[in-house]
């Protein structure tokens, strides 16, 4: 069909890519990536890394240098859970004390896994259980990029919402494109691959063949037929039905527009990875999906992605069902925030559970850092990754979150810092208003992505971007 670059890499390592890009030496960071980006046209990317069951507050916290004393904003060592991220310390901003304000102040009764999922990435009050009242930050940014680009998504895929494993204790209702509009998560690496690279190859650099052009014209014509029918049927039905049909027709129009664009481009690092095996799961699925994000960004097929991690396999953290009288790992997570908080075996298992997440997070950062950009920096420098989850810790609370950013979004954020708005007070499961809301963080992230935003979330749940993130 097309004669695009068909070379495939089974492993996208930094050295391979540098060789592919013709760069012999390690890329060096430029002092002001933001300005460089404006000049170079290197896009900024956004990733949500989503894990379950909160964290363990104490081993999450950074320590003073060398493990001695208290950590300060700029002088610290990463905590025990984050040792796999040691080499990325200067790329991180650790955030301690954010609150899910839509939960804390909203009409919902309890937080916990389901309500926390809905509130975590939206900061909108839920319209019903499991249904957010507004978009999650990833979809908001994707829609904002489209608007900034004259109503057309700048990339073939507005976003990629992926899952390492199909599991999730409480469904996967964290991503929304609007009120109650759940965004499905793809847990099949094969399908994710096909969506990015339908022909199994990198986007063509020489343009499509005549056959491909004709096929594209017919697809577009078929969509015209459908859209004509939507307009006709809408007039026969009532207001609510019309709204539903209009949203559907708009989604077809959006697809038609995206398909009509030259599919992606990207730099010399753009290569279709090897088609993944149909494996899923915390390790294999995580590895396969990270390659999809890496390739999707490198080929500029999307600029917004999420990776839902699901649960670690029991073996990864030395857990076996029934251990310590628990029913499952989730049960143990809760107990370690309760009566088993001093049980070294129990705490050890949960530490390993969170460290496993850190290992995959490090893998994601490594993959992004392996892609050189034209200005001598790496893709990680032009990305911001938010590590978030549905509860703060094992006790089901959604206040005093311990989250993290990685990457500076092209120099927008000042990384290598630990921002602490307040520590979690054990025994208090209620709202705690020490820190900014998750919506304030989302305002900052949207602005970093070039989508001007003053506040984020339901009315009154956000006061504006967090200035401190910039320095």
């Amino acid at each position: 069909m097309t004669s695009g670059m068909t070379r495939k890499l089974s492993m996208l390592g930094r050295r391979d890519l540098l060789r592919a890009a013709g760069l012999g030496t390690a890329a060096t960071l430029l002092p002001s990536l933001r300005r460089a980006e404006a000049a170079s046209g290197i896009p900024t990317r956004f990733v949500v890394f989503y894990t379950q069951h909160g964290t363990l507050p104490e081993p999450w916290k950074p320590t003073g240098p060398g493990g001695v004393g208290a950590a300060s904003e700029t002088s610290f060592d990463l905590g025990e859970l984050h040792q796999p991220l040691a080499s990325f310390k200067k790329d991180l901003i650790l955030l301690s004390g954010l609150d899910m304000r839509s939960w804390a102040d909203g009409p919902q009764v309890a937080c916990g896994h389901v309500n926390g999922q809905v509130a975590s990435l939206t900061n909108f009050d839920a319209i019903s259980k499991g249904n957010a009242g507004g978009p999650s930050i990833d979809q908001y940014i994707a829609a904002g990029l489209k608007k900034q680009n004259g109503g057309v998504s700048p990339t073939k895929l507005p976003s990629m919402n992926l899952a390492a494993a199909g599991d999730g204790y409480f469904g996967q209702a964290a991503f929304f494109s609007g009120p109650g509009a759940l965004v499905p998560i793809e847990s099949s690496p094969t399908r994710a691959y096909q969506r990015l690279f339908p022909n199994g190859t990198s986007p063509s650099t020489t343009g499509p063949s005549l056959d491909a052009l004709a096929a594209a014209r017919r697809r577009s014509a078929a969509m015209d037929v459908a859209m004509g029918e939507f307009a006709a049927v809408e007039n026969l039905l009532g207001k609510a039905e019309k709204t539903k049909l209009e949203a559907h027709a708009a989604a077809i129009k959006d697809l038609q527009t995206r398909l009509s664009k030259a599919p992606g481009g990207g730099g010399t690092s753009c290569m279709a990875p090897t088609a993944p095996a149909a494996k899923v799961g915390f390790r294999d699925g995580g590895d396969a999906m990270i390659r999809m994000i890496q390739a999707g960004f490198a080929c500029d097929l999307t600029r917004v992605a999420s990776l839902w991690m699901g649960s670690t396999p029991n073996a990864d953290c030395g857990y076996s069902p029934g251990m310590l009288g628990t029913t499952d790992l989730h049960d143990l997570v809760h107990k370690v925030d309760g009566d088993m908080r001093s049980n070294p075996t129990a705490v050890g298992v949960i530490k390993k559970f969170h460290i496993a997440y850190s290992q995959v997070f490090a893998q994601l950062l490594t993959a992004l850092k392996a892609i050189p950009e034209s200005d001598g920096s790496t893709m990680l420098d032009h990305t911001v990754i938010l590590w978030a989850g549905e509860i703060a810790q094992g006790g089901h609370g959604c206040a005093n979150l311990k989250w993290m950013l990685a990457g500076s979004a092209g120099g927008y954020f000042k990384t290598g810092r630990y921002l602490n708005w307040g520590d979690y007070n054990r025994g208090e499961y209620g709202p705690d208003r020490n820190g900014p809301s998750n919506g304030d963080l989302f305002s900052s992230l949207a602005n970093a992505m070039g989508v001007p935003t003053t506040t984020y979330g339901s009315n009154g749940r956000s006061t504006g971007p967090i200035a401190k993130l910039r320095g």
Partner: protein
């Protein structure tokens, strides 16, 4: 083959008005979620029906059935085909061998069900999949479905006419309008400037497969400007019947019945319904409802995860036997001629195979599942099926809280509210040196205090009734060296309140309850109408429940009465 005489026990009061005392003030019950609860009940006398009886048999339901002439029906949101319906429809249109199953994104689950019209939204990925799906059907397959070729302009015109009156009609599940035909002719003639005729028609077909007439069940009824409920056309009724009972598009007989006007009246609908329900496809389709109502997905997930050290005899074959055995048991209760909801709750039988015989403590019946008595005075019905108990059991321990919530939510339609703010859901550990404890004791210790107490009093008291059954459904009287305490109680319901001891007494209490009959009815109404139950469904639900009560819980007959009734034959007025 079913006959209508089997259904005559089922008494309907659809034409009469039932009195309208409303059960409770709350509209926040399970089935009312999503409804506004805007209307309130109408009190007072009634000309007919069940005078003096409240409409709702559930203190949390808000149902009204006004006196006067109906039809009284709720809203009619626009429904998109579910993933199962979409794939089955493609298979019917093109032949099962000519289509590949489309992996569409999972539907949004609202209130336990995947076909809620209000919850459906067009995600980016779904729209991409629906656009790509017609391309996966080969040109040759579409050519064959279109059914004609053309070598001249005259032949092209004739072929198009044939296409409009045959395949296109099946695609839209109704005859095309003159406007549509004219639009498509124009479209084809435009395409013909660049493409050949066959290709042009294929593009048309692929476009029609993305159109709302195909993907949605758009119902405009017989006269769209009506201020009152609008009677559906025969074709619209045919689609409702077919998708409810077969999970797919209407077949040739249903098309013929619609065309002949036979679906314009209840008798004609009954006749077709009997035919559809007599076909094996109805079992598959109804089991799709049951899968969601009885939470088979959760059950299978938990059946799969058991601790091999605790349960060494529990093998992969056991898992399969429990999962299939439960399905067959429920299917029998719905479809066998002499069974009902009552049997589903009380039956002393189970499907057992060699792999699951040890759980029921019966002799090995063979490798295949066999229906056999598993009584011993220990078991009764659904709640004591090993598949259910293992499905509502953790890896090592039974799950009384989940079991209690299941009964309250899925059988009584009275789910407890979610945990309040500020709770630690971890169970308390027993005091040091206190000796062995049962799970019940530990739960009671944790729940007796603070914010937990109010709800868990209700939840736990129901779930504890099944404490004689461990995490895989084995009966025992000793747990952790202590005697099992399976005493429990139901409270705050319409008619199921009271103390009981053990699973059999719990089941008997539920089997007698009209609230349970109403609950199953309300779940079916919700599923059949693809939306949450609304107060204006009161007439429908109360009369169907009357029939359930009188028939001892004949679910087939309830479904027949439902599809013959107003809520299935009318749609809400169209408000621009």
């Amino acid at each position: 083959m079913l006959t209508e005489s089997r259904f005559t026990l089922f008494v309907l009061c659809l034409a009469t008005s039932c009195s309208g005392a409303v059960g409770g003030a709350s509209s926040g019950g399970d089935d009312a979620a999503g409804g506004d609860g805007g209307s309130s009940g109408v009190g007072g006398d009634s000309a007919g029906g069940a005078v003096g009886k409240p409409v709702a048999r559930n203190p949390t339901f808000d149902l009204a059935c006004p006196a006067g002439v109906g039809p009284f029906i709720g809203s009619s949101p626009l429904t998109r085909l579910t993933n199962v319906e979409y794939n089955n429809t493609l298979a019917d249109l093109f032949g099962p061998a000519n289509v590949q199953k489309q992996g569409l994104p999972a539907e949004v689950i609202a209130d336990g069900f995947n076909n809620d019209a209000v919850a459906q939204s067009p995600s980016t990925v779904l729209i991409e999949n629906l656009e790509a799906a017609p391309i996966t059907i080969t040109d040759a397959t579409i050519d064959k479905a279109v059914g004609c070729q053309a070598a001249s302009a005259v032949e092209e015109s004739a072929c198009l006419d044939k296409f409009f009156s045959s395949f296109a009609k099946r695609l839209y599940r109704r005859p095309l309008t003159a406007t549509e035909i004219s639009r498509y002719k124009t479209f084809v003639s435009t395409l013909r400037k660049t493409d050949d005729f066959a290709s042009s028609v294929r593009t048309l077909v692929r476009g029609m497969m993305q159109s709302p007439q195909f993907l949605y069940r758009a119902e405009t009824g017989e006269s769209a400007s009506d201020k009152n409920p609008i009677k559906l056309t025969g074709y619209e009724v045919a689609s409702r019947l077919s998708y409810l009972l077969w999970d797919t598009m209407p077949d040739a007989d249903l098309f013929a019945a619609a065309e002949a006007g036979e679906l314009d009246n209840a008798d004609g609908i009954a006749k077709q319904t009997m035919r559809l329900m007599g076909d094996p496809r109805a079992r598959g389709s109804v089991s799709e409802f049951v899968r969601q109502w009885l939470e088979y997905d959760r059950i299978d997930n938990n059946i799969a995860k058991k601790n091999a050290t605790t349960f060494p005899k529990y093998t992969d074959a056991t898992k399969a036997a429990l999962s299939s055995g439960l399905r067959k048991f429920v299917e029998d209760a719905i479809w066998s001629s002499d069974t009902s909801l009552r049997d589903m709750l009380l039956s002393k039988k189970a499907y057992v195979s060699d792999a699951s015989a040890f759980i029921y403590n019966v002799g090995a019946p063979g490798a295949e599942l066999k229906s056999m008595a598993v009584d011993n005075g220990q078991r009764a019905g659904l709640l004591t099926q090993a598949g259910f108990l293992a499905g509502f059991g953790h890896e090592t321990l039974q799950a009384p809280i989940l079991r209690g919530i299941f009964v309250l939510d899925r059988l009584l339609c009275q789910p407890p509210p979610p945990p309040p703010v500020n709770v630690n859901t971890a169970l308390a550990d027993p005091p040091k040196g206190a000796g062995p404890t049962t799970l019940r004791q530990r739960i009671e210790m944790s729940h007796q205090k603070g914010a937990c107490a109010s709800c868990h009093k209700t939840i736990d008291a129901v779930g504890f009734g099944l404490e004689n059954f461990d995490a895989i459904g084995q009966y025992r009287t000793i747990e952790n060296t202590l005697p099992v305490d399976a005493r429990g109680s139901i409270s705050d319901t319409f008619d199921a309140n009271g103390d009981f001891n053990g699973a059999v007494e719990l089941a008997e209490r539920l089997a007698k309850s009209e609230q349970v009959s109403e609950c199953v009815t309300a779940k079916m109404v919700r599923y059949a109408l693809s939306r949450a139950v609304e107060p204006t469904d009161g007439c429908t639900i109360s009369s169907l429940t009357d029939g359930m009560v009188q028939s001892g819980g004949d679910i087939k007959s309830m479904m027949l009465a439902l599809v013959k009734g107003d809520s299935f034959r009318y749609r809400a007025p169209i408000t621009p």
